[in-house]
């Protein structure tokens, strides 16, 4: 047994989970969603073992290249989803959210991503690696849920406006409120991990806390978009569609900070 076997086992568990979630979506049988949730939960457990295994095998944090970081992002996303599902019962978001997780796992397992654990380059040899990456990605996982619930809000809202009353327990209003809750968790985490820890580490490693590197600038852009979300909502009373669009743009900005910058723009932050 090794780490990659555990990784693929996790991948399969997530696929089964998504399968049950989708059959729930079409059959409306609640217990199918419960099975989907259980598979996601077991998947998270195996995934955790895989990550711990990887950490011991490589001797460093399990997010130092794109494969590791994607796998860790999928792990945080499932963790975030389980927390939110537990608190707010948003089962209908499950199938769509599992698609994001499966996309992350599929990308991680693609042959384009080198999987072997390589020794750490000097710049990454710091405990700030743990703090900076894990907290940032956990924050972004909550943004991912807000992204899904915001898209669902837009369709639910159109349906309800056409006269179809909220058929399920997951009304447009609830989706709007869950999106806000996710951002209320994700925003402080992203601020702490991405910006504050990022600045502290940059100061230790590069000698400057801010250098307008593309990755830094894009994380600031992401932060600004979510700051906009919060201010328009709390101070100006925006809700519903407009808020949902801002949340969607925010997650896309976060995604671009995460992937786009590495593959399109070059800079100091060229690890993952």
């Amino acid at each position: 047994m090794n780490e990659s076997l555990l990784f693929y086992a996790t991948f399969i568990l997530y696929i089964i989970s998504a399968f049950y979630y989708f059959t729930f979506l079409f059959s409306k049988r609640e217990n199918l969603a419960r099975i989907g949730f259980s598979f996601a939960f077991v998947g998270l457990f195996i995934h955790t073992i895989a990550l711990v295994w990887r950490t011991f095998e490589s001797g460093h944090a399990p997010f130092t290249n794109m494969y590791e970081s994607l796998s860790f992002f999928a792990w945080s996303s499932i963790l975030a989803y389980i927390i939110i599902e537990f608190k707010y019962k948003i089962r209908k978001a499950g199938p769509y959210f599992m698609l994001i997780v499966i996309a992350l796992m599929a990308l991680a397992s693609s042959p384009l991503m080198p999987k072997e654990a390589t020794p750490l380059v000097p710049a990454l040899q710091s405990y700030w690696l743990w703090l900076h990456v894990s907290v940032t990605l956990l924050g972004e996982a909550f943004f991912a849920i807000a992204f899904i619930t915001s898209i669902m809000y837009l369709t639910a809202d159109s349906r309800e406006k056409k006269g179809g009353a909220a058929k399920s327990k997951l009304s447009a209003e609830k989706l709007d409120s869950v999106s806000y809750r996710c951002i209320a968790v994700g925003f402080p985490l992203f601020t702490l991990g991405g910006l504050v820890f990022g600045m502290v580490w940059a100061f230790k490693a590069w000698g400057r806390y801010w250098s307008w590197d593309p990755k830094e600038t894009w994380s600031l852009i992401t932060w600004f978009v979510f700051a906009l979300y919060l201010h328009t909502r709390i101070v100006m009373g925006w809700k519903g569609r407009r808020s949902a669009y801002v949340a969607i743009i925010g997650f896309l900005a976060a995604l671009f900070t995460y992937f786009g910058v590495n593959y399109i723009l070059s800079g100091l932050h060229s690890y993952a």
């Binding site: 390589t118 020794p119 380059v121 000097p122 710049a123 040899q125 710091s126 700030w128 209320a184 968790v185 925003f187 402080p188 601020t191 702490l192 910006l195 504050v196 600045m199 502290v200 100061f203 230790k204 490693a205 590069w206 000698g207 400057r208 806390y209 801010w210 307008w212 593309p214 600038t217 894009w218 600031l220 852009i221 600004f224 978009v225 700051a227 906009l228 201010h231 328009t232 709390i234 101070v235 100006m236 910058v261 723009l265």
Partner: protein
Amino acid sequence: MKSLLKLFSSVKLAIVLLIIITSASFVGTLIPQQRSPSEYVAQFGQLGNLLNRFQLTNLYQSSWFISLLFLFVLNILICTLTRFPAKFRKAFQPKLIKDKKNILVLKIKDSLGKNWDLAKTKKELKKELSSRHYRLKEEVEENKAFLSARKRTLGLFGADVVHLGLLIILAGGIISGLGGFRKNLTFSEGNVLDIPNAEFKLRLDKFETEYYPDGNVRDWKSTLTVIENEKPILSKIIEVNHPLSYKGFVFYQSSYGWNWANTSVEIWVKKRKDPSFLRKIEMNLGARVKLEGENIHISAIHFIPDFIINERSEATSRSLQPNNPAAFIEGWEGDEKVISGWIFAKFPDFARIHSEKETDLSFELKSFKAGQFSVIEAAKDPGANIIWVGCTFLMIGLALAFYWPSREIKIILEEIQGKTGVIAGGIASKNREALQAEFDKIMSSLRRSK
């Protein structure tokens, strides 16, 4: 003046500025920054001139971008200050609601009746509220009592603390920009260099590169000694992520390299027809060494660490890393140059040797040695500590705003013929559901109590 103040106290302006600053930051990631003006003209033509003119090539340090940030700071400051007095009163001098209607419009509300007189009902209610850490304020009028119960009042100021943190961070940024200083110092082992604007010197005792078994770099380590008044004060081995701090300066391992101009090379000379013939020559660049037993002098003229032929067909170095080391050698018989050409350490069969005379000699670049230097960045950043203070405020503010929402319960008690009616409503700055749950518990506990 007044209308200007009004403009700057509006959240709408803040949102417009936020959108403009975000868009400008976005544009800055599309245009490569801080190249020389001529590079932009070469790459973008007429557009390049335009980029230069509008400082889009140094966007984040441009006067217009900094002005935008300044306006934003002003906006945050005025927004926060103009709202503060009202917020302060709300937090510390709560108004009691005396009209039932104003409670009934609240989202969280409930009413009940008890067979107790006013005093007993009030006492029970206060007991319940105090046990939940609510602070109380009350007023009694004849047969009525008005209560305000509050907790987590600090949560009201979460956003203000966040804004204060941001202002401190921006102030730190300005101080770094104005008072900051950084310079790369290139040391060879044993060098002592003056630190600009400081009263001490720095010596590089040792520089080494550590490798992993697979050949990748594990770390660069420079042993530095601070020298003050000609006396060594302290020594530290610095590496990436572990700088040396001394008297407001921080010294970082920034780069490294080789003094290729002073390379010494080891060249093996062989004869194709005589396998037993082998002469090993070690020499510095420019020196001339006689080949033992032969009437020829060998000399190495150039050394290139990363050999490449450029578009003008000249031999040049692609980088300063020894990726493709090459040496240009010459062979002299008296005053006559008979042999010349490039030999390559990694490609011994690829040697490009011209010879004026028939020769059986072949040359291999076996090894090379060059002194290494370490580049240490000396930085003084008086803004950095201010930034950390600002970040702390930022995080405390976010925690307060999102996870310490203020709760307030307004209550009107009215006694009619020995029975008392209770009308109560709740206000939460965030997370209304949590207050609703607590509110319901308070009310049902009052209902049950006898």
